[in-house]
Amino acid sequence: MTHALASSRRARPAALHLVYFAVIVAGPLLLVIGALLWRSVSLERQQLDSRLGQVLEALVADLDRDFDRQFTILHTLESSPLLAAGNWPAFYEQARNALRHKGYVVLVDLDGRQIVNTYVPYGTAPETTGDPETIRRIREARRRVISNLFLSKVARQPVYNVSIPVPSSDDPRFIMSIGLLPKAVLAILKEQRLADGWSTVVWDGNGKLLAQLGMDDHAVGTPAPQALRALEPGKVTRVSMVSPGDVFAITARSDLSDWRVAVLFSAAAIESQVWTSIAVWGATILIAAAIVALLAWLFGRRLTGPLAAATDGARALGRGEELTLEPSGIVEIDAVNEALIRAKREVEASSAALRQSEEQLRSAAEAAEFGPHRYDVVNNRTYRSPQFLHILGAGEGEATASFAGGLDWVHPEDREVTATAKKAILAGHEDRYQLDYRILRRDGTVRWVMDRGRIARDAVTGRALEVVGVVLDITDMKDAEQRQRLLFEELNHRVKNTLAIVQSLAKQTLRSKPNPRDFTEAFDSRLLSLARAHDLLTHGSWSGAPLGDIARTAMEPFIGESRRIVIEGPAVAIPPSSTVALSLMFHELATNAAKYGALSAAGGTLTIEWQVAEGPAKSDVVLRWTEIDGPPVTAPLTTGFGSRLLEASARQVGGKVELTFAPTGLKCTIRFSVKRTMSAGPQLA
């Protein structure tokens, strides 16, 4: 899954994507706001420029209007008949009245000699004018002139003249001036009533300062600031000055004079406005951005919260933990959650199926006592199931081991063979294997196991990659196999023994009965006796037979109407090895009795009786064979096969036989012992 999701693009949290989104939406808006701010700042500059121009224009107009007023006064005085008449004292009076302390009138001839000066009492005027420049200009141009500053001889301070030639229409003979103090200019400046930050400066054609708002009186006549004088007229320029600092300035030349006028606006004032604007708008932008970011965050939380919950849910699902998902209010996330819940149900269902399957495998493994195991060839690691460990008798701590560690459990006698076989299986080409070997459990018990399974191999190289198998405790099976093998051997032994007995029977019979008819009769009879003894043994599962049964079975062929056979005695169990011997003894004795003894004639009686003396370890049996009322004993049994057989058989049962040929009939006593602890089944050794 991790693989499928990995891509060239780096994954980022949803919240970051939302912030990107907010920036994408808010960015252009902020740019527009910035552009508007920029535009407002530049508009303000334009407004300032325009205002500067307006103020300048008004100021120049006011100055010129003031000049015009002075000129009007001068022209009025020019037309005075007193002037024409040359009545200077009267003219003095008239001129003085006309001005009323707003300046003074000076009348000079073309050579500069003063005729009338209203500043001082008539007749005390200085001889020559203090303003020869005006004389020179009027004589040259013959028209009105507004002078630069000059030092008045009467006022003894810098003043300026507004002058006309007299007569102005004709060849002039006089020059009439109104002398004015620069204060008049300052008054005009003040009349503008400009706000703070504004300033105005007027200087004459020589660059001498006439007036400046807020200036000191002493500054009149000093050179105007060079920075202002150097300015190109009509153009707003930013200028650095000592006082009042950086300003925006515009200058113009007076129409009627050589004077120049400057209007200043403090750069600091305008810039503080700009900065205020920037600060206000910047703050607005920041606040807006913060609000946008906050909203994005709040909104993002509504998205990322459920997303994170879904992510946690998916993780919990991956870990197999409990899954709690609440409605998110977002269709897509609800769909994801629904898919997760569905996946959880499927996982639970398949886990349950897996658990059930594992449980089935486990209970099957436990029931069948097989132990699954897996060997990772590449990492040389073997993994053992609990059932496998149970078979080994090992604890949980030995759930994994290496190849060599896995062999530790093999019985030392089988270890090398098993190791060789396992290596051969890994190196070979077979897909399946089966090995039987013994294991030595921790508790010291030895168990046989069958180890079988499958080898997964590399499709190309054929190299073994993994071995999956089970071990099965086959000890019981091995034991059964062993028992069966022993039983077969025992059976074989008994058959061979029986054949040997039959062979001996034939040989012995042949020795005493060379005649074929006699041989056949005797041999058949003995063989049948042997067969009946075997029947008895088989009936008792080769655990032996009661003595009574042995006697009755042996006597069965001899029971007839005229024969009286009594068989009496307490119950005593005869071991299997003695059963055949006793059977054959009874048979020989009975055959003899049937031929020569009590069973050969009517009225004869045969009694077979025995007593048992029970000892602690064995029972001593005394069996008496007694024949009475038979024909007289003529042929003793001592000859040939019969007596030999009795003797040999007695030895076989660990006893002794005693024959007595009494006149009443044959008596035979057999004494033997029977071990009390008889084996219940066939002996295997």
Binding site: V495, S504, L645, A648, G654, S679, A685
Partner: protein, 155 residues
């Protein structure tokens, strides 16, 4: 008796060799009947009939059955004192292994061979090299086994 038996066996061995060389056309059975003449045998067999037949067979071969036993206890008792040239031991005596008898005889240097109805006899390794005659057997097999066991040629 034992000190007498060994030289006798050696003489018989020599004579048997000579007989083989000088009279090769004669059937071996006749030769070794003579060769085994007087050999003293200890017979151990639990089946009475089989023991009888074994005795007959040994006597026909010219041997002398000096002791016989059917049960293990009896056989052990005998094996301590019996004076014989060779012993024939039935491996299984009424379900008990004849091994103690074999151990005693081996300890006394008396040669012996086994008879058995078993396909493969459950004998301890120390007696694994001994000859085992499978039941039922013929007289000539007894003869060869005797010859082989006591070192008379022709076994």
């Amino acid at each position: 008796m034992e000190s007498h038996a060994l030289p006798l066996t050696s003489v018989l061995l020599l004579s048997a060799k000579n007989n083989l060389q000088t009279l090769p056309e004669e059937p071996p059975l006749k030769d070794f009947r003579q060769a085994l003449c007087g050999t003293m045998v200890f017979a151990v067999e639990d089946e009475a009939l089989v023991l009888m037949t074994l005795e007959d067979c040994l006597e026909e071969l010219g041997c002398q059955v000096v002791a016989r036993a059917s049960l293990l206890d009896e056989a052990i008792l005998c094996s301590r004192t019996v004076q014989c040239d060779v012993a024939v031991l039935d491996i299984n005596l009424a379900g008990r292994l004849v091994t103690p008898v074999a151990d005693l005889l081996a300890g006394r240097g008396i040669p012996f061979f086994f008879t058995s109805g078993y396909g493969s006899a459950p004998l301890p390794p120390v007696h694994a090299d001994r000859l085992i005659l499978a039941k039922p057997y013929r007289a000539d097999q007894i003869q060869r086994a005797l010859c082989s066991t006591i070192g008379v040629p022709g076994g």
